[in-house]
Subunit: 396 residues, 2 copies
């Protein structure tokens, strides 16, 4: 009944181009495992290889964890306290009522405009599942968030990608492509990851004049709390043309808790109830996110720390003859000045010295490496490691 | 662009038959929201209404939370400490490597036999998504776990249900039905929820002689740590005929953390990587589950507390002239001796007095109410409330 032979190992591809072997692939010859044709066609890939996987492969921990755009400054102490006090023997409230109510007050809408989910990743999975079936067209930028692409592929959609324009995702070409292919969804991150660039919210609104009436815009504002005033799109919560994604993983410092939320028209928010994992939210995470939201002074302090860290990363880049790109996020993307192979060599040189970083994976953005804001000690480690990584890359 | 009119309210059905209004339904007339035909056909239901929702509806908190089969004795203090110490600014390890390694040692298999996920609910969603497409046949028991049914419906599968036999899920009729309808999946919980009954593991193995070669058995052993020795199915981890579901939500006391795991053949476990939310695990939850697993003496103590609480619930039932059913779980199902309407009246009478309980929802099992193990104080509150609930139900 077991497969007599095995296919070659499937390999995982991460954001940096690293590839790691994983367990042998499903052979499809086990009679009890009748995958759907779609599932059978999917590779067993991951959008990103985690830093822990890399640490296990290299046999030691990273000195500086600057690759996943986590917030090293951490969550509000009030969030930490709320999580510690949450009774974890109880299932979380499946409505996330208290958190949704607080978010509604924060954003000036009603709880019916808010869906709380297991990070933006989880919410993206739900919205793709609701709207995308086999061969349905979806539009994104080449080099934008791979996890969104993973979900589109996972539900059989057809992804159309348009290039960045001057290191920005380009709303005009995204929406033109959406019209051309009759896209059900178009994805736009503002600010952008991995480039750190941003558009003014009012410019997004103007571009949306060209949004086809049959296309929903997913506007991923994961980094918006790190961005200048005016970056968030100034549209009412119930505008039916778009759904906004927000998270507690970045500026709020709760990446490990898995709390994201979507803002949209109540009819669209309501549809999530059809498919979501109703009891999927960690109870302490709900409490932690609520406490973090209620501690806006702490958020303001973190925003200052992020600004300082961005300046410090930019200075380190310039000290090494590299060009830091302007950032509206909690990371700085550094132009290494040559091609993707060179940037990859620099990245490898940093990783070899215990500095976890990632990089864009599509040309010409892959001339860059991406450094998350770190503590002064972590950035000192970066400053120490970068000259050698650069020198080795130039020799390579 | 917004819908000009609204459909009537969709209503939620819970395990008790309670129905609560929620927000108006998606009209399907918003041009930007083009749901898939499958999503359009799905109701916006929840498998269970949470106790918090009921508390908000009634305007006060429950005195005794005995309805969701949570573990009121809570997790190991070591788990609480591990969760408090986990750095929540970091994403969780997407491989759950340390937890999977420990689980493999615990079960005498390899980490490749283990998939950790966001509770059994999350894992059920993934396995259904992998194997069930529109019109694919799936078999379960009428009155068994509604969340499994929700996932089957959510991916377009056709559910076939067989009745309980003497308050037990019946492996023979489940497997006969699977052969009859060419089921891709058959679901069996052992021990069973909501009846608390169980089969010996070796009897499940014998029944599996009739498992069709093209059907995968999902064996939900969520409550197995509360059951007598010999309940867990004595089969090797890589038996390709079944996938086992386990959880930290019940005996380990971590329902709020959302940590479940599946044990199965590596080829099947590998398939989860095709669709799962790779970064979906809460970091503290991973650490808490690992610490809970490593504190087996605490688990043994909880098992004793559960046994005592079951005895106490049985005594309360008998003191009121009702019949407690034998339980291999952390709850006791009480036969109220009449029909479903009567049991529902008893349940309503308990809820009105601040005692949160649930009940089976299919006849003839709906002659019962289901009481989770509680602290002595909670069970004292139950003992106080039950006579009035019964008297009122008899008068009703």
């Amino acid at each position: 009944m077991l497969a007599a032979s095995r296919r070659p190992n499937i390999r995982l591809c991460d954001h940096t181009g690293l590839a790691l072997p994983i367990a042998p692939a499903l052979t499809g010859r086990m009679t009890h495992i009748r995958l759907t044709p779609l599932a059978q066609s999917l590779p067993a890939t991951v959008p990103f290889v985690g830093p822990e996987t890399q640490e296990r492969a290299r046999g030691s921990a990273f000195e500086a964890r600057l690759g996943a755009n986590e917030n090293v400054f951490g969550p509000s102490p009030q969030a930490i306290r709320a999580m510690a006090e949450a009774p974890q023997w109880m299932y979380g409230d499946p409505e996330s009522h208290d958190l949704r109510t607080a978010l509604a007050a924060h954003h000036g809408c009603t709880p019916d405009h808010i869906m709380v989910g297991e990070g933006i990743d989880g919410l993206l999975s739900y919205i793709v599942r609701l709207m995308v079936g086999p061969q349905d067209a979806v539009v994104t930028s080449a080099g934008a968030y791979p996890t969104f692409n993973y979900h589109v592929a996972g539900f059989g959609g057809t992804l159309h990608a348009v290039p960045y324009v001057e290191d920005h995702e380009d709303p005009q070409s995204l929406l033109a492509k959406a019209a051309e292919v009759d896209a059900k969804l178009v994805y736009l991150a503002n600010p952008d990851n991995p480039m750190g660039s941003h558009h003014k919210g009012e410019d997004i609104v103007k571009a949306m004049d060209d949004l086809p009436a049959t296309t929903l815009l997913i506007l991923d504002e994961a980094y918006v709390e790190c961005a200048p005033e005016g970056t968030a799109v100034p549209l009412p919560a119930d505008d039916p043309r778009l759904i906004r994604m927000r998270t507690f993983s970045k500026a709020y410092g709760l990446a490990g808790a898995r709390v994201g939320y979507a803002i949209g028209h109540p009819d669209l928010i309501q549809a999530f109830h059809k498919v979501r994992n109703h009891f999927g939210m960690n109870r302490a995470a709900q409490a932690g996110a609520l406490a973090a939201l209620n501690d806006q002074p702490y958020l303001a302090q973190v925003q200052q720390q992020i600004t300082q860290a961005r300046d410090q990363i930019a200075q380190i880049a310039q000290d090494n003859g590299l060009t830091p790109l302007p950032s509206a996020t909690n990371f700085v993307t550094i132009d290494c000045g040559r091609d993707g192979d060179f940037a990859k060599a620099v990245l490898d040189g940093l990783i070899a010295q215990g500095i976890f970083v990632r990089m864009p994976f599509v040309a010409p953005q892959n001339r860059c490496i991406r450094i998350s804001c770190g503590t002064p000690a972590m950035l000192q480690a970066l400053a120490t490691a970068l000259p050698k990584a650069l020198a080795d890359a130039k020799q390579g």
